[in-house]
């Protein structure tokens, strides 16, 4: 049984190997490149003053406040939305590719025809995406910490790590949403549009709702707020924020599993 389960993870893992390496290399390069300009920003009050010329809402929406401080620089350039959004895109596209695309193209037919529970086929693929996301996150974390040291950006390592872990959990949440949709229907376009649509909608709610007093409290419905509402680059993150991202991920994956048992497997 264990050999079978491992095989159901190993096959998709092998299939996403190259994409995982590209995502990891891309994000590591992005971090290294961004960090290379930190010495020019370090302690510069001029930059902060220039940003202050912008409307307060714009500065807040794009995380441009305190650009000359380590936390402000990392937030404004990488972690306010750029890196978390890229991780969400990676998770959604990998999940869609390994489930909805593979099934709709008929490539899972021979796997579903073997003596294995179809739920394990889905879980194996979801696990492979999770492993891929973990590899990308670890490479990203290493790239960030090495760049911090190389460019003399002084920030609490624990804050950086928790910010990156929250980004990865936010990605996993959207990946799980993709798994749930793929469990319901083997339609890649549907999986991608819902998965990425929810990611962008959440980002808009998190970034723009606080600008208007009337709708500001509604920002809390966004998973982005659950992840970054506590300013994890400057303060210790409350445990509930990790749970608020992880628990729905588990529930969404379970929805995908249950849904798959109740429908037909798509033919090529």
């Amino acid at each position: 049984m264990n050999g079978r389960v491992l095989e159901l993870v190993a096959v998709p893992l092998r299939a996403v190997r190259r994409a995982t390496l590209w995502w990891a290399a891309g994000l590591a390069s992005l971090v290294a490149l961004t960090m290379s300009v930190w010495p020019a920003f370090k302690g510069s009050s001029g930059i902060s003053q220039a940003m202050d010329q912008l409307p307060a809402g714009v500065v807040q929406a794009f995380g441009l406040q305190d650009f000359g401080t380590p936390a402000g620089f990392l937030r404004g350039n990488l972690y306010d939305f750029f890196v978390p959004l890229l991780l969400a895109i990676a998770a959604v596209t990998l999940a869609s590719g390994q489930l909805a695309s593979e099934e709709s193209e008929g490539r899972l037919e021979l796997y579903f025809a073997q003596p294995v529970d179809r739920r394990l086929v889905l879980l194996g693929r979801a696990a492979a995406v999770l492993v891929a996301l973990t590899v990308i996150t670890v490479v990203l974390l290493i790239a960030q910490l090495v760049s911090d040291a190389a460019q003399d950006l002084r920030i609490d390592t624990a804050y950086v790590a928790s910010t990156i872990i929250l980004s990865a959990l936010l990605g996993a949440l959207h990946g799980s949403l993709a798994v749930a949709i793929a469990g319901l229907r083997a339609r890649p376009s549907l999986v991608l549009s819902v998965g990425l649509g929810v990611a962008f909608a959440g980002l808009i709610v998190f970034s723009l709702f606080p600008l208007s007093g009337a709708i500001a409290p509604w920002r809390h419905i966004s998973p982005w707020d659950w992840a970054f509402g506590g300013n994890p680059l400057e303060r210790a993150t409350e445990l509930w924020r990790y749970a608020a991202l992880a628990l729905p991920s588990v529930i969404l994956t379970a929805i995908g599993v249950v849904s798959l048992t109740r429908r037909d497997i798509a033919a090529a």
Partner: protein
């Protein structure tokens, strides 16, 4: 004598895709050890029925299963005893043939490597090549190799020779006969009539989601129109011949009689026994003729 429990049992199977009625009430039984042909044109419901048997589709109504197991409820246990070649075959691109066979082997709990090599040799298949580099015929060979590798009790083969050259089709029929001799049951779906004619013991013909004929190959042939040409010593007994049942287009020309038989040849033979016949030619009916007759008939 107590009739043996059928290996595959399909009772009132109905499958709708939204408003499309792909299968409209199929009843079938396949006995252990037989090669059962499943004939019908594209869209007649063959693949849908097979995918229901594999537990890939959930029947809208009715029941389908094998070994006394329900395809939906006991899918894993059922599939442990079944090998399957899909009609629409798509394989993972990134693996070599060897890796893919090993992967499926791990899901099925192992296989005999010497059997794999033997089958690859018989099918003239290079398993070391990447699946993406294989022609459709060679991909089909990979699926066939997998079907015969695990020595399953039930082989479910949906259009198994599609894309294979005649030599390989011949090899395939050999593999089917060997599997049957070893005790396997074969459920062979095809629109290639000659293949079913050569391999199958019994046949069901599907049309628009329903079984329109079922029986042995010989029975189905018996339903086919046969062209007969008879030479008599004297004048043919024209009136008696024309009065026979199932005689179509009779022509008496000097000592020769020609006609088409749409039923049994037995009444004709009975009549001829009382006359002096010089020679007789009966064109052997092809299953294809039987098949076309069934499709040509009223809905």
């Amino acid at each position: 004598m107590i009739a043996a429990e059928p290996l595959v049992r399909i009772d009132g199977l109905v499958k709708h895709y939204g408003k499309v009625e792909a299968v409209r009430g199929i009843d079938l039984e396949i006995q252990r050890g037989e090669v059962f042909g499943f004939l019908g044109p594209n869209g007649s419901g063959k693949s849908t029925t097979i995918r229901c048997l594999l537990g890939l589709l959930r029947p809208t109504a009715g029941h389908i299963g094998a070994f006394g197991l329900d395809a939906t409820r006991d899918g894993v246990a059922l599939r442990r005893r079944v090998a399957y070649v899909p009609g629409e075959l798509r394989l993972p691109d990134r693996l070599s043939g060897m890796e893919f066979v090993a992967s499926i082997g791990r899901l099925r709990g192992g296989f005999d490597p010497s059997r794999r090599d033997q089958l690859a040799e018989r099918l003239r298949l290079d398993l070391h090549r990447h699946l993406r580099d294989l022609s459709s015929g060679n991909r089909r060979k990979v699926a066939l190799l997998l079907a015969f590798l695990f020595e399953a009790e039930l082989l479910v083969l949906d259009e198994p020779t599609s894309g294979l050259d005649p030599l390989m089709q011949h090899e395939f029929l050999g593999l089917v006969r060997e599997a049957r001799a070893a005790g396997a049951t074969v459920f062979l779906s095809s629109h290639v009539l000659s293949e079913v004619q050569r391999a199958a013991d019994r046949v069901a013909v599907l049309r628009a989601g329903k079984v329109v004929a079922q029986g042995t190959v010989a029975e189905l042939r018996g339903r086919a129109r046969q062209r007969v040409e008879i030479w008599f010593e004297d004048d043919p007994p024209g009136l008696e011949l024309k009065a026979l049942p199932d005689v179509v287009d009779p022509v008496v020309d000097d000592h020769r009689f020609t006609a088409t038989l749409s039923g049994s040849i037995q009444p004709l033979l009975g009549l001829l026994a009382r006359h002096q016949v010089i020679s007789m030619l009966v064109e052997e009916p092809d299953l294809e003729e039987a098949f076309l007759d069934l499709y040509g008939g009223a809905a």
